[in-house]
Amino acid sequence: MLEVIKELLEKEYQLTDVNMDTDFKRDLGLNSFDFLNLICIFEEKYNVELDEEKYRNINTIGELCEYLESLVGTDAV
Protein backbone atom coordinates (compact mmCIF):
# COMPACT_ATOMS: atom_id res chain seq x y z
CA MET A 1 0.00 0.00 0.00
CA LEU A 2 2.94 2.34 0.60
CA GLU A 3 3.90 2.02 -3.05
CA VAL A 4 0.32 2.80 -4.10
CA ILE A 5 0.30 5.95 -1.99
CA LYS A 6 3.75 6.98 -3.24
CA GLU A 7 2.65 6.58 -6.82
CA LEU A 8 -0.46 8.63 -6.20
CA LEU A 9 1.38 11.46 -4.46
CA GLU A 10 3.81 11.66 -7.35
CA LYS A 11 1.07 11.61 -9.95
CA GLU A 12 -1.34 14.02 -8.26
CA TYR A 13 0.98 16.41 -6.47
CA GLN A 14 4.45 15.71 -7.96
CA LEU A 15 5.67 14.70 -4.53
CA THR A 16 8.43 12.14 -4.12
CA ASP A 17 10.82 11.14 -1.39
CA VAL A 18 8.20 10.04 1.10
CA ASN A 19 8.12 7.29 3.67
CA MET A 20 5.85 5.90 6.35
CA ASP A 21 6.66 8.71 8.77
CA THR A 22 6.00 11.49 6.29
CA ASP A 23 3.36 13.87 7.59
CA PHE A 24 0.93 15.08 4.94
CA LYS A 25 0.64 18.59 6.29
CA ARG A 26 3.93 19.25 8.02
CA ASP A 27 6.26 17.55 5.56
CA LEU A 28 4.38 17.71 2.29
CA GLY A 29 2.50 20.96 2.79
CA LEU A 30 -0.83 19.43 1.81
CA ASN A 31 -3.96 21.10 3.09
CA SER A 32 -7.22 19.46 4.12
CA PHE A 33 -8.65 19.68 0.62
CA ASP A 34 -5.59 17.96 -0.82
CA PHE A 35 -5.95 15.19 1.73
CA LEU A 36 -9.68 14.82 1.14
CA ASN A 37 -9.03 14.58 -2.57
CA LEU A 38 -6.61 11.71 -1.90
CA ILE A 39 -9.24 10.00 0.24
CA CYS A 40 -11.77 10.35 -2.60
CA ILE A 41 -9.29 8.86 -5.06
CA PHE A 42 -8.87 5.80 -2.84
CA GLU A 43 -12.61 5.47 -2.35
CA GLU A 44 -13.07 5.45 -6.11
CA LYS A 45 -10.13 3.13 -6.71
CA TYR A 46 -11.17 0.48 -4.20
CA ASN A 47 -14.91 1.09 -4.29
CA VAL A 48 -15.07 1.66 -0.53
CA GLU A 49 -16.44 4.36 1.70
CA LEU A 50 -13.84 5.63 4.13
CA ASP A 51 -15.00 6.59 7.59
CA GLU A 52 -14.52 10.28 8.24
CA GLU A 53 -14.23 9.67 11.97
CA LYS A 54 -11.22 7.48 11.22
CA TYR A 55 -9.46 9.37 8.44
CA ARG A 56 -9.78 12.79 10.07
CA ASN A 57 -7.19 11.64 12.61
CA ILE A 58 -4.72 10.43 10.03
CA ASN A 59 -1.60 12.57 9.76
CA THR A 60 1.09 10.37 8.23
CA ILE A 61 1.48 8.10 5.24
CA GLY A 62 2.00 5.17 7.60
CA GLU A 63 -1.32 5.84 9.34
CA LEU A 64 -3.11 6.05 5.99
CA CYS A 65 -1.44 2.80 4.87
CA GLU A 66 -2.59 1.04 7.99
CA TYR A 67 -6.15 2.25 7.61
CA LEU A 68 -6.42 1.42 3.93
CA GLU A 69 -4.93 -2.03 4.46
CA SER A 70 -7.52 -2.68 7.17
CA LEU A 71 -10.20 -2.04 4.56
CA VAL A 72 -8.84 -3.60 1.40
CA GLY A 73 -6.08 -5.92 2.58
CA THR A 74 -2.33 -5.74 2.27
CA ASP A 75 -2.20 -7.11 -1.27
CA ALA A 76 -4.31 -4.45 -2.90
CA VAL A 77 -2.69 -2.57 -5.76
Binding site: F33, D34, N37, C40, E43
Partner: protein, 279 residues
Protein backbone atom coordinates in the same frame (compact mmCIF):
# COMPACT_ATOMS: atom_id res chain seq x y z
CA UNK B 1 -15.34 65.38 28.67
CA UNK B 2 -18.82 64.06 29.10
CA UNK B 3 -20.44 60.71 28.49
CA UNK B 4 -23.79 61.10 26.85
CA UNK B 5 -26.48 58.73 25.69
CA UNK B 6 -27.85 59.69 22.29
CA UNK B 7 -31.46 59.74 23.40
CA UNK B 8 -32.89 62.30 21.03
CA UNK B 9 -33.14 62.51 17.28
CA UNK B 10 -30.58 65.29 17.10
CA UNK B 11 -28.12 63.11 19.01
CA UNK B 12 -28.70 60.23 16.61
CA UNK B 13 -28.06 62.63 13.75
CA UNK B 14 -24.81 63.71 15.41
CA UNK B 15 -23.85 60.09 15.93
CA UNK B 16 -24.25 59.34 12.25
CA UNK B 17 -22.64 62.59 11.15
CA UNK B 18 -19.53 61.86 13.18
CA UNK B 19 -18.67 58.73 11.25
CA UNK B 20 -19.76 60.20 7.95
CA UNK B 21 -17.45 63.16 8.43
CA UNK B 22 -14.64 60.95 9.68
CA UNK B 23 -14.56 58.85 6.55
CA UNK B 24 -15.78 61.38 4.00
CA UNK B 25 -12.39 61.98 2.44
CA UNK B 26 -10.83 58.68 3.37
CA UNK B 27 -9.93 56.82 0.19
CA UNK B 28 -9.05 53.72 2.19
CA UNK B 29 -12.34 53.10 3.93
CA UNK B 30 -15.92 52.42 2.89
CA UNK B 31 -18.48 52.62 5.66
CA UNK B 32 -20.62 49.54 5.11
CA UNK B 33 -22.34 49.96 8.47
CA UNK B 34 -23.86 53.39 7.96
CA UNK B 35 -27.03 52.04 6.42
CA UNK B 36 -27.48 49.50 9.20
CA UNK B 37 -27.05 52.19 11.84
CA UNK B 38 -29.72 54.28 10.20
CA UNK B 39 -32.06 51.33 10.38
CA UNK B 40 -31.15 50.67 14.00
CA UNK B 41 -32.00 54.25 14.92
CA UNK B 42 -35.22 54.05 12.97
CA UNK B 43 -36.13 50.92 14.96
CA UNK B 44 -36.74 49.11 11.70
CA UNK B 45 -34.66 46.02 12.36
CA UNK B 46 -36.18 43.04 14.13
CA UNK B 47 -32.84 42.66 15.86
CA UNK B 48 -33.43 45.83 17.92
CA UNK B 49 -36.59 44.28 19.36
CA UNK B 50 -34.53 41.62 21.09
CA UNK B 51 -31.35 43.58 21.85
CA UNK B 52 -31.21 46.65 24.05
CA UNK B 53 -29.50 49.39 22.06
CA UNK B 54 -27.87 52.34 23.81
CA UNK B 55 -26.18 54.77 21.40
CA UNK B 56 -23.51 56.55 23.38
CA UNK B 57 -20.88 59.18 22.83
CA UNK B 58 -18.18 61.02 24.69
CA UNK B 59 -18.09 64.71 23.86
CA UNK B 60 -15.46 67.36 24.50
CA UNK B 61 -16.10 69.95 27.19
CA UNK B 62 -14.65 73.40 27.52
CA UNK B 63 -12.07 72.15 29.97
CA UNK B 64 -10.70 69.59 27.55
CA UNK B 65 -7.59 70.59 25.72
CA UNK B 66 -7.78 68.89 22.36
CA UNK B 67 -6.20 70.17 19.21
CA UNK B 68 -8.73 68.55 16.92
CA UNK B 69 -12.01 69.01 18.79
CA UNK B 70 -14.11 71.89 19.99
CA UNK B 71 -16.53 71.95 22.92
CA UNK B 72 -19.44 69.67 22.17
CA UNK B 73 -17.61 67.70 19.48
CA UNK B 74 -17.85 63.96 19.64
CA UNK B 75 -14.55 62.36 20.57
CA UNK B 76 -15.67 58.76 20.40
CA UNK B 77 -18.94 56.89 20.09
CA UNK B 78 -20.40 53.42 20.05
CA UNK B 79 -23.61 51.52 20.36
CA UNK B 80 -23.65 49.84 23.75
CA UNK B 81 -25.75 46.72 23.31
CA UNK B 82 -27.15 44.11 25.63
CA UNK B 83 -28.47 40.88 24.13
CA UNK B 84 -30.35 38.81 26.71
CA UNK B 85 -29.33 35.66 24.86
CA UNK B 86 -25.67 36.60 25.40
CA UNK B 87 -26.13 37.59 29.06
CA UNK B 88 -22.49 37.44 30.10
CA UNK B 89 -21.47 40.31 27.82
CA UNK B 90 -22.19 43.97 27.39
CA UNK B 91 -21.18 44.90 23.86
CA UNK B 92 -19.41 47.98 22.54
CA UNK B 93 -20.48 47.97 18.90
CA UNK B 94 -19.88 50.24 15.92
CA UNK B 95 -17.08 51.97 17.78
CA UNK B 96 -15.55 55.04 16.16
CA UNK B 97 -13.14 57.58 17.55
CA UNK B 98 -10.85 60.44 16.79
CA UNK B 99 -7.16 59.81 17.28
CA UNK B 100 -5.52 60.73 20.57
CA UNK B 101 -8.67 60.26 22.64
CA UNK B 102 -7.50 57.65 25.11
CA UNK B 103 -9.29 59.24 28.05
CA UNK B 104 -12.54 59.50 26.12
CA UNK B 105 -12.36 55.85 25.17
CA UNK B 106 -11.62 54.93 28.76
CA UNK B 107 -14.69 56.86 29.86
CA UNK B 108 -16.79 55.09 27.23
CA UNK B 109 -15.55 51.75 28.45
CA UNK B 110 -16.15 52.59 32.09
CA UNK B 111 -19.71 53.61 31.32
CA UNK B 112 -20.28 50.49 29.24
CA UNK B 113 -19.01 48.51 32.21
CA UNK B 114 -21.42 50.31 34.52
CA UNK B 115 -24.33 49.58 32.21
CA UNK B 116 -23.14 46.01 31.90
CA UNK B 117 -23.13 45.53 35.67
CA UNK B 118 -26.68 46.89 35.84
CA UNK B 119 -27.63 44.08 33.46
CA UNK B 120 -25.71 41.43 35.37
CA UNK B 121 -22.95 41.15 32.77
CA UNK B 122 -19.49 40.09 33.82
CA UNK B 123 -17.58 40.98 30.66
CA UNK B 124 -17.34 43.66 27.99
CA UNK B 125 -16.86 42.61 24.39
CA UNK B 126 -15.71 45.19 21.90
CA UNK B 127 -16.16 44.82 18.18
CA UNK B 128 -19.17 42.54 18.07
CA UNK B 129 -21.84 44.24 15.98
CA UNK B 130 -24.81 43.15 18.03
CA UNK B 131 -24.57 39.67 16.55
CA UNK B 132 -21.79 37.80 14.74
CA UNK B 133 -24.01 37.57 11.65
CA UNK B 134 -23.70 41.35 11.31
CA UNK B 135 -20.01 41.65 11.98
CA UNK B 136 -17.27 40.77 14.37
CA UNK B 137 -13.97 42.16 15.51
CA UNK B 138 -11.47 44.81 14.57
CA UNK B 139 -9.11 44.87 11.63
CA UNK B 140 -5.70 43.74 12.81
CA UNK B 141 -3.53 44.21 9.71
CA UNK B 142 -3.53 45.74 6.23
CA UNK B 143 -4.72 49.07 7.58
CA UNK B 144 -3.63 50.81 4.38
CA UNK B 145 -5.82 48.69 2.13
CA UNK B 146 -9.37 49.59 1.23
CA UNK B 147 -11.74 47.36 3.19
CA UNK B 148 -13.70 44.99 1.01
CA UNK B 149 -17.46 44.76 1.26
CA UNK B 150 -18.68 43.56 4.68
CA UNK B 151 -15.17 43.37 5.99
CA UNK B 152 -13.78 45.46 8.78
CA UNK B 153 -11.99 48.70 8.47
CA UNK B 154 -10.47 50.68 11.26
CA UNK B 155 -7.24 52.49 11.99
CA UNK B 156 -4.60 50.75 14.06
CA UNK B 157 -5.13 53.14 16.96
CA UNK B 158 -8.51 51.55 17.69
CA UNK B 159 -6.75 48.34 18.62
CA UNK B 160 -4.18 50.29 20.59
CA UNK B 161 -6.89 52.02 22.64
CA UNK B 162 -8.30 48.78 23.94
CA UNK B 163 -5.00 46.96 24.30
CA UNK B 164 -3.72 49.85 26.42
CA UNK B 165 -6.83 49.54 28.57
CA UNK B 166 -5.86 45.97 29.35
CA UNK B 167 -8.37 44.24 27.11
CA UNK B 168 -7.62 40.69 26.05
CA UNK B 169 -7.32 40.26 22.32
CA UNK B 170 -9.22 37.33 20.82
CA UNK B 171 -8.18 36.27 17.33
CA UNK B 172 -11.20 34.83 15.60
CA UNK B 173 -10.90 35.18 11.86
CA UNK B 174 -8.13 35.00 9.34
CA UNK B 175 -8.74 35.76 5.73
CA UNK B 176 -6.97 34.14 2.84
CA UNK B 177 -6.85 34.99 -0.80
CA UNK B 178 -6.95 32.18 -3.31
CA UNK B 179 -6.44 31.79 -6.98
CA UNK B 180 -9.83 30.32 -7.80
CA UNK B 181 -8.87 29.25 -11.28
CA UNK B 182 -6.26 26.78 -10.09
CA UNK B 183 -7.94 25.67 -6.93
CA UNK B 184 -10.83 23.59 -8.24
CA UNK B 185 -8.80 21.83 -10.89
CA UNK B 186 -6.62 20.45 -8.12
CA UNK B 187 -9.44 18.38 -6.59
CA UNK B 188 -11.29 16.46 -9.30
CA UNK B 189 -11.96 13.37 -7.16
CA UNK B 190 -13.31 15.44 -4.28
CA UNK B 191 -15.53 17.48 -6.58
CA UNK B 192 -16.84 14.34 -8.26
CA UNK B 193 -17.75 12.84 -4.90
CA UNK B 194 -19.46 16.02 -3.74
CA UNK B 195 -21.50 16.19 -6.93
CA UNK B 196 -22.51 12.56 -6.50
CA UNK B 197 -23.54 12.78 -2.85
CA UNK B 198 -24.94 16.27 -2.54
CA UNK B 199 -27.24 18.63 -4.37
CA UNK B 200 -26.28 22.25 -4.58
CA UNK B 201 -28.93 24.89 -4.98
CA UNK B 202 -28.71 28.63 -5.08
CA UNK B 203 -30.99 30.82 -3.04
CA UNK B 204 -34.32 31.23 -4.79
CA UNK B 205 -35.99 34.59 -4.26
CA UNK B 206 -39.31 33.08 -5.32
CA UNK B 207 -39.09 30.97 -2.18
CA UNK B 208 -37.46 33.65 -0.08
CA UNK B 209 -38.90 32.67 3.25
CA UNK B 210 -38.12 28.97 2.77
CA UNK B 211 -34.46 29.55 1.95
CA UNK B 212 -33.90 32.28 4.49
CA UNK B 213 -35.27 29.93 7.17
CA UNK B 214 -32.79 27.27 6.06
CA UNK B 215 -30.04 29.87 6.40
CA UNK B 216 -31.12 30.65 9.97
CA UNK B 217 -31.50 26.99 10.93
CA UNK B 218 -28.04 26.15 9.61
CA UNK B 219 -26.46 29.08 11.39
CA UNK B 220 -28.16 28.15 14.64
CA UNK B 221 -27.08 24.52 14.26
CA UNK B 222 -23.48 25.19 13.24
CA UNK B 223 -22.50 27.94 15.62
CA UNK B 224 -23.85 26.75 18.95
CA UNK B 225 -20.31 26.43 20.31
CA UNK B 226 -19.18 29.83 19.04
CA UNK B 227 -18.11 32.11 21.85
CA UNK B 228 -20.19 35.07 20.71
CA UNK B 229 -23.00 33.51 18.70
CA UNK B 230 -26.52 33.46 20.04
CA UNK B 231 -29.74 32.07 18.66
CA UNK B 232 -31.17 33.88 15.65
CA UNK B 233 -34.83 34.34 14.91
CA UNK B 234 -36.08 33.80 11.37
CA UNK B 235 -36.99 37.48 11.12
CA UNK B 236 -33.41 38.59 11.85
CA UNK B 237 -31.90 36.80 8.87
CA UNK B 238 -34.94 37.34 6.67
CA UNK B 239 -34.52 41.10 6.85
CA UNK B 240 -30.73 40.88 6.56
CA UNK B 241 -31.01 38.77 3.43
CA UNK B 242 -33.75 41.02 2.04
CA UNK B 243 -31.26 43.88 2.14
CA UNK B 244 -28.36 41.87 0.79
CA UNK B 245 -30.42 40.56 -2.10
CA UNK B 246 -31.24 44.09 -3.19
CA UNK B 247 -27.94 43.91 -4.99
CA UNK B 248 -26.63 40.39 -4.44
CA UNK B 249 -27.43 37.70 -6.99
CA UNK B 250 -29.11 34.47 -5.96
CA UNK B 251 -26.02 32.39 -6.67
CA UNK B 252 -24.17 34.35 -4.00
CA UNK B 253 -25.78 32.06 -1.46
CA UNK B 254 -25.52 28.35 -2.18
CA UNK B 255 -26.93 25.54 -0.10
CA UNK B 256 -25.81 21.93 0.03
CA UNK B 257 -28.46 19.27 0.50
CA UNK B 258 -27.93 15.63 1.37
CA UNK B 259 -31.15 14.23 0.03
CA UNK B 260 -33.71 16.71 1.29
CA UNK B 261 -31.74 17.79 4.32
CA UNK B 262 -29.83 21.07 4.13
CA UNK B 263 -26.34 20.46 5.46
CA UNK B 264 -24.39 23.60 4.65
CA UNK B 265 -24.15 26.85 2.79
CA UNK B 266 -21.64 29.25 1.40
CA UNK B 267 -22.15 32.93 0.86
CA UNK B 268 -19.88 34.86 -1.40
CA UNK B 269 -20.04 38.15 -3.25
CA UNK B 270 -17.85 40.36 -5.31
CA UNK B 271 -16.29 43.30 -3.58
CA UNK B 272 -19.07 45.85 -3.86
CA UNK B 273 -16.75 48.36 -2.25
CA UNK B 274 -14.99 48.42 -5.58
CA UNK B 275 -18.03 50.37 -6.71
CA UNK B 276 -17.71 53.11 -4.13
CA UNK B 277 -20.21 55.40 -5.77
CA UNK B 278 -22.77 52.60 -5.55
CA UNK B 279 -22.70 52.93 -1.80
Amino acid sequence: MQFRIAGEKKDEKSFLSFRKKKYKDDAKYVDNNYFMLQEIFAGKLHFVKSVEIIPAMVVAEESDVLAHARTGDILCEAIIAYAPLLPEYIQICFFESLEGCEKAVELLMDQAGRIGKEHGCSRIVIGLFGHVNYGLGFLNSHYDSVNSFSSLGNPAYYNAYFENLGCEKTKLNTYFTHDLNNRLSRYPALIAKLRKNYDFKPFDKRQFEYYSHIYTDLNNACFTEHKYYYHREYEDDYEMLKELFLFMKEDSLFFAFKGTEPVGFIMWYPDYNGYKTFL
